[in-house]
């Protein structure tokens, strides 16, 4: 597997310098996508910049009411953080659907996001949760919503030399709840055929006052579907509202036929999954209100 150099910088600045200095340097977090791509020849970086030795990129931290997840933090560590798992169970479950236990002990949120697969499991949950990410680069730091990172399969909006430092989640509000579900042919080890993340807030009467609905593997990027959220807001997630949400997500998606599923199946499934996801989110929101 060719690569000319391996670097393990200890600071963000060093990493920025290495990534902007080498013509074809690639950041390495968990490596569960990059190393596979290097082996298959799809990716042949001149240099690898391992981000796992930078303190800012490791671990789950409190960030005001919310959380900052170091971009190179392994999925398993999310599950082990009780506060995060209580506040954002959908995000934590999504991250812990990726691959196997072995893979989740390496795979990271930053990697899952920046690999820019439309089928990335963690991303719809993050988008639904309203996550942002802190980006470091030659021009300094910037913070953008997660959904702005992937721009197409394998492509991100990151400029040369930029990388994601942390993913920021707000605090979950009273009456809020999130969930993520995906559909795969087997029970484990597959890439999502369809994924759906829902985050919503219920008032004391059980009426939905805010919602974000995100879908994966049904378009070139993960989508935030505002029409779907609108269908839920103001309702008590009765059948009519859920049907309207289902229609909205089916209408929003633009999938392909591929080895993992047909276009027709994906359009039908996204409505089913979004509905099931919304019901789990409602239950969690109800429990939290």
């Amino acid at each position: 597997m060719p690569s000319q150099a391996y670097h393990a910088p200890a600071t963000v600045d060093e990493a920025v310098a290495l990534l902007s200095g080498e013509p074809d340097a690639r950041p390495l977090a968990g490596g569960t996508d990059l190393i596979v791509q290097m082996k298959s020849g799809r990716n042949a970086p001149d240099a690898i910049v391992d981000l796992k030795h930078i303190a800012a990129l490791s671990g789950v931290h409190r960030n005001g009411d919310g959380f900052a997840i170091g971009a190179a933090t392994a999925c398993t560590a999310l599950k082990n953080d009780a506060a995060l798992a209580a506040a954002w169970p959908g995000v934590v479950e999504a991250a812990n659907l990726i691959g196997s236990v072995q893979v989740r002990n390496r795979a990271t949120m930053g990697g899952n996001l920046c690999n820019a697969s439309p089928a990335a499991d963690a991303v719809p949950a993050l988008v639904a949760a309203g996550a942002t990410c802190l980006i470091a680069g030659p021009a300094g730091e910037r913070e953008v919503p997660v959904e702005q990172i992937p721009i197409g399969p394998g492509h991100t909006s990151l400029a040369p030399g930029e990388f994601v430092v942390e993913i920021r989640l707000p605090g979950q509000v009273a009456g809020g709840g999130d969930a993520y579900l995906r559909s795969i042919p087997r029970t484990e080890m597959d890439i999502a055929v369809v994924g759906a993340g829902v985050n919503l807030v219920l008032d004391g009467s059980g009426t939905c006052t805010a919602a974000r609905v995100s879908i994966g593997a049904v378009a070139p990027t993960v989508l935030l579907v505002e029409d779907a959220a609108a269908a839920l807001i103001g309702s008590k997630l009765d059948d009519a509202a859920l049907d309207a949400m289902g229609k909205a997500v089916s209408a929003a998606c633009n999938p392909i036929d591929d080895k993992r599923g047909t276009k027709k199946y994906r359009i039908a499934m996204v409505a089913v999954l979004a509905r099931r996801t919304a019901l789990i989110a409602r239950e969690r929101a109800g429990a939290a209100s």
């Binding site: 597997m1 559909s183 042919p185 087997r186 029970t187 484990e188 080890m189 597959d190 080895k259 599923g261």
Partner: protein, 756 residues
């Protein structure tokens, strides 16, 4: 349960001791194909075609040869011209020219992944870098992947020298129809017309891979005196020797193949892909060369089992007696002619006695890797259609699905499709065991369905050699030529211990290289425990006779006055009946008295019997998503006398789960350029541990009178029933008949919601 009436009393046979090679396998010490290293070894790599079908105009290897660290480059031009002779390959056979060209393409590449050149270099990295420097000029040709498409008049024809075999007269135009086979009896047309009920349908299934976890690998070392040593993991190192020798035109005695531990085969390692290439690279470089496939290479360039299109019509009278079957199936051959259709046809109806039948099978060439054996090769596909048709007949008649099978089950003495009487097969006993099993009468939950299907496989005997010798301390050494792919060392040790009446722990088993023991056919065809076990038993018996003779000499009695038992030699002669002499005592005299104690037996036994089984499968289908999950599974099989029941059950469980994978998710998927789209475990989707429940097993022990330990081959049958059992179960759960495998969620969903 289901003990036969004539259950023999054995001391070791039928028990569950720890296998002799177990510790080295749980500690990581066992040396498998990719683990072996020779001193001064080079690393080989193979350049493979990116096209499904192309003419190779030229290959320029100059730049690769010039790369520092590259020691040899080989192309098809380095392969000697061989003759069109038919070679035995495992249970099957192939044309030598095709075998050679599959190892390395010559004029044409016939599938994505077909080897076109190979390099040996001082490191794996350099070898791979060199592959990028080889320039191949391809003229891309139209390709064909599907069975029906390959038979179309305007289909691209893969070989201009293949004329359909089995058709009279032989066609004068080459085509992709490599072979037609027909079997049958009675008058199926008339019987069908007279039938009270008939069902008709087209069933399909996809090509699937054996999915062994160990990729193919070997090391070959050619010396300047023409002697070749090969270390390989395979199901048969004698086959590696003979095929390599014939392809490279060297004598078999000049090749010594040492078997390494084998990491799964299921039929797929009964042939060769790498050994001739590694040998030529070694000849050119003068150093040992290792070749090892990546997982993608295994999927793209080793031999899967054929997919199939099967049309079947079945007729029955109103009592449920099947009166007629008319079926025609077409199997993928892949890039080269195969003969799987033969066993597909002979197996299809072999577990039923049906008066009127016609079974037609075709082998169809297409731009996929050449198909190879996979556990009961040819039987799962054709029997899948038969079992589903039977299910449909039972449904039409409102009959119990076990009762209808019992009514038609082949019984010992019944004539099979070729008119030959059935031996002591236990299909009826399996069906009765299924009927009596709590699974069959357990209530089903919502969205659940239950399927049942039977299946059979002819099994085999075949040549095997074994040596048994007694060490000077009386411990026992068993040596065979049969690679141990799933615990057969334990079975050999147990049969030797049983025969010699020595403790199991006193027996050790080795598998010898091709220069150290006589010929043994591949480990495959469910033959090893049966045939190699017979050789071990025979050699052990010969040793007993020898030892009795030795004791007789010591006691100065006739050998006929000596018996053999747990205590060793026992004197029966009058006045000396207290005399006994242990094996250890007799062996102790080896060094200074009468010489070594050893015997060799080479066998090629008849007496093998078909294996039959019945599987019950419960699935639960999510009506909104089409996901089918196996929630309960029971495998019932006539296993003859199990030698080591753990490994018999293991065959049943492993085969069942492979069949579940075939039925639910596994498939070779191609893109529109004819390239394999899922050459990895991620998207090939074999069952993982969380996909399946415990696989309950019932061993029906119907002793085989043709073997001293009553053995029937058990390895292959278990993959036959699952396709039908799963399909019928999902059909019931989904409320719609599913005829196309695999039953992926999108397919089941589509069938359940046709109007969406």
């Amino acid at each position: 349960m289901n003990a036969p009436e004539s259950k023999r009393a054995f001391r070791y046979v039928g028990t569950r001791p720890v296998r002799p090679d177990g510790v080295e396998k749980v500690t990581g010490k066992a040396i498998y194909g990719p683990d072996y290293q020779a001193a001064n070894m080079l690393h080989g790599a193979i350049l493979r075609s990116p096209h499904a079908h192309a003419r190779v105009r030229s290959i320029d290897t100059k730049k690769a040869e010039a790369l520092t660290g590259v020691k040899a480059v080989v192309t098809g031009a380095d392969f000697p011209t061989t003759e069109h002779i038919i070679m035995a390959v495992g249970e099957s056979s192939s044309d030598l020219v095709h075998l050679s060209r599959n190892c390395m393409a010559q004029d044409k590449v016939l599938y994505d992944g077909h080897a076109v050149a190979a390099v040996a270099a001082t490191s794996d990295e350099i070898a791979r870098e060199a592959l990028d420097l080889i320039e191949v000029d391809y003229e891309v040709l139209p390709h064909v992947l599907g069975i029906e498409e390959a038979l179309a008049d305007d289909a691209p024809v893969l070989h201009d020298d293949v004329f359909t075999k089995g058709v009279n007269p032989t066609p004068d135009k080459p085509s992709n129809a490599a072979m037609r086979v027909e079997m049958g009896k009675g008058d199926p047309e008339k019987a069908m017309a007279d039938a009270d009920v008939t069902v008709s349908g087209r069933y399909t299934c996809e090509a699937v891979h054996q999915g062994y976890i160990e990729p193919h690998a070997c090391v070959s070392a050619w010396d300047s005196d023409g002697q070749v040593r090969i270390w390989a993991s395979s199901q048969g190192h004698f086959a590696v020797r003979s095929l390599t020798a014939k392809i490279l035109l060297i004598s078999e005695a000049d090749i010594r193949v040492t078997p390494l531990e084998i990491g799964g085969g299921f039929g797929g390692k009964t042939t060769i892909y790498l050994e001739p290439v590694a040998t030529l690279l070694s000849k050119k470089s003068g150093r040992p060369v290792r070749l090892a496939m990546s997982r993608a290479e295994v999927f793209r360039a080793s031999g899967p089992a054929p997919g199939a299109v099967i049309d079947i019509t079945m007729g029955a009278n109103k009592d449920g007696m099947i009166t007629a079957v008319d079926m025609e199936f077409k199997y993928h051959a892949g890039a080269y002619p195969a003969i799987t259709a033969h066993s597909g046809a002979s197996s299809a109806l072999s577990h039923y006695t049906i008066e009127n039948s016609r079974v037609i099978g075709w082998e169809v060439l297409c731009n996929r890797p050449g198909t190879k054996a996979y556990r009961a090769p040819g039987a799962p596909q054709s029997i899948y259609a038969v079992e589903c048709a039977l299910d449909e007949i039972a449904e039409k008649l409102g009959m119990d699905k076990i009762e209808i099978r019992l009514k038609n089950a082949a019984r010992p003495g019944d004539p099979n499709i070729m008119g030959i009487p059935q031996g002591e097969i236990g299909y009826v006993e399996c069906l009765e065991a299924a009927r009596d099993h709590p699974h069959w009468s357990a209530p089903l939950g919502p969205n659940q369905g239950r399927g049942i299907a039977g299946g059979a496989w002819g099994n085999y005997g075949g040549p095997s050699t074994a040596q048994v010798s007694i060490a000077e301390d009386g411990t026992v050494l068993v040596t065979t030529g049969s690679p141990d792919i799933g615990g057969s060392r334990a079975a050999m040790a147990m049969m030797a211990a049983e025969t010699l009446q020595v403790p199991y722990e006193k027996v050790r088993v080795a598998i010898a290289d091709t220069s150290s023991i006589g010929y043994s056919m591949v480990t495959g065809g469910s033959r090893t425990t049966f045939a190699t076990g017979l050789a071990v038993t025979n050699a052990s018996n010969e040793i007993i006779e020898n030892l009795k003779g030795r004791a007789a000499n010591i006691w100065e009695v006739n050998a006929s006055e000596v018996a053999w038992g747990e205590e060793g030699a026992v004197c029966l002669a009058e006045g000396k009946t207290d005399e006994t002499m242990s094996l250890a005592a007799l062996a102790a005299r080896t060094t200074f008295m009468v010489g070594a104690i050893g015997a060799e037996s080479s066998v090629n036994p008849g007496g093998f019997l078909p294996g039959v089984g019945v599987h019950i499968c419960d699935t639960e289908v999510d009506p909104e998503t089409g996901h089918a999950k196996v929630v309960r599974y029971t495998a019932i099989q006539d296993v003859g006398q199990p030698i080591h029941p753990d490994y018999v059950e293991g065959q049943m469980q492993g085969g069942a789960v492979q069949g579940i994978g075939w039925a639910l998710n596994e498939a070779y998927l191609y893109n529109d350029k004819g390239c394999l789209d899922n050459p990895g475990f991620l998207d090939y989707r074999m069952p993982v541990a969380s996909d399946v429940p415990m696989i309950d097993t019932v061993m029906v022990e119907k002793f085989n009178p043709g073997h001293p330990y009553g053995i029937k081959g058990v390895g292959e049958v278990p993959i036959v029933p699952p396709l039908g059992a799963v399909a019928c179960s999902v059909s019931e759960a989904a409320g719609v008949r599913m005829r196309d495998l695999p039953l992926t969620p999108d397919r089941v969903h589509e069938a359940m919601h046709p109007d969406d």
